[in-house]
């Protein structure tokens, strides 16, 4: 029986809640998260099934005071796993939590603030890429059917991303 496995999963930069739920589910099934590498390869190691809560923070500014940032999470019992494209991965066993339920964000104000950090850092490059690279090339090569198909696909990716952000924003405003 193999003791490690890898899975390919793609979560957009607005899907961290789904990603957290996915990692928690795997741990409950007896697969402990080891690391993730781009473009979405998740490495797991077999373990005793346990309810462990996974949480993602997006705080590239925290990197300027990395030790202090990680120390605060350590003090609160959160194990730091890795950083990837601005996101930091943490986990904590539910059994170690007060009342069995804990999150790294305690109120909606700070959840919205994290969402704002993601938007502020990730949206401008995407929009810039769209206007500088995608659009001009589309007009240059639009007569080629293959290129048209490619751009259609890219358009779908952008649309999906847009709706994920919208959904995320509504969820944060709603709860």
């Amino acid at each position: 029986m193999k003791n490690t496995k890898t899975e390919l999963r793609y979560f957009t930069i607005a899907d961290w809640k789904e990603e957290e739920a996915y990692l928690r589910r795997r741990h409950q099934e007896g697969w402990r998260f080891e690391r993730v590498s781009l473009p979405g390869i998740y490495h797991f190691v077999r373990c005793t099934p346990e309810d462990v809560v996974y949480q993602l923070d997006y705080n590239p500014e925290g990197l300027s005071d990395r030790e202090g940032y990680l120390q605060l999470f350590r003090d609160c019992g959160w194990e730091h796993l890795q950083d990837l494209v601005g996101y930091s991965y943490f986990r904590k066993p539910a059994a170690a939590m007060q009342g069995g339920e804990e999150e790294i964000f305690g109120d909606d104000a700070s959840r919205r603030e994290m969402f704002r950090r993601v938007l502020r850092h990730r949206l401008p490059p995407l929009i810039l890429l769209f206007f500088v690279a995608v659009l001009p090339n589309f007009f240059l090569f639009a007569q080629e059917p293959v290129i048209r198909l490619l751009f259609g696909l890219l358009g779908v990716v952008y649309l999906v991303l847009f709706f994920r952000f919208l959904l995320c924003w509504r969820r944060l405003r709603g709860d």
Binding site: Q55, D57, N59, E61, G62, D65, E67, G68, Y69, Q71, L72, F73, D75, C76, W78, Q98, E102, E103, I104, F105, G106, D107, A109, S110, E113, M114
Partner: protein, 104 residues
């Protein structure tokens, strides 16, 4: 005082209020968490993401200032601006409390 800051911080979140209250004396993030827990009889336990985010934002806005580092933990203290905003918020809460009592 910058009217924008006043709009952002008055009224403030419970987290922000306890952070400012604790930082009348120099303290670090985890110290604020412990002190808040003690002050509220364990009812309010601040989360690290919330705490770190608030501290960075307050430092940027000039409400608190970095003092020194102690065993990897950054110690902060309230600035004059922070004290001013805390006083405004206290006044607001006192009014709230007074009106609540009178309504009974």
């Amino acid at each position: 005082m910058d009217p924008h800051l006043k709009k952002v911080y008055v009224p403030m979140t419970e987290t922000a209020f306890y952070i400012l209250l604790c930082l009348r004396r120099e303290n670090h993030g985890y110290g604020i968490l412990q002190q808040t827990e003690k002050m509220t009889g364990g009812e309010i336990r601040l989360s690290p993401g919330t705490l770190y985010g608030s501290l960075s934002k307050m430092e940027k806005d000039g409400l608190i200032a970095f003092v020194r580092e102690e065993e990897k933990r950054r110690l902060y203290r309230l600035t004059a601006l922070g004290e001013e905003l805390l006083a405004l918020e206290k006044k607001r809460i006192a009014r709230l409390y007074r009106n609540m009592q009178e309504a009974n």
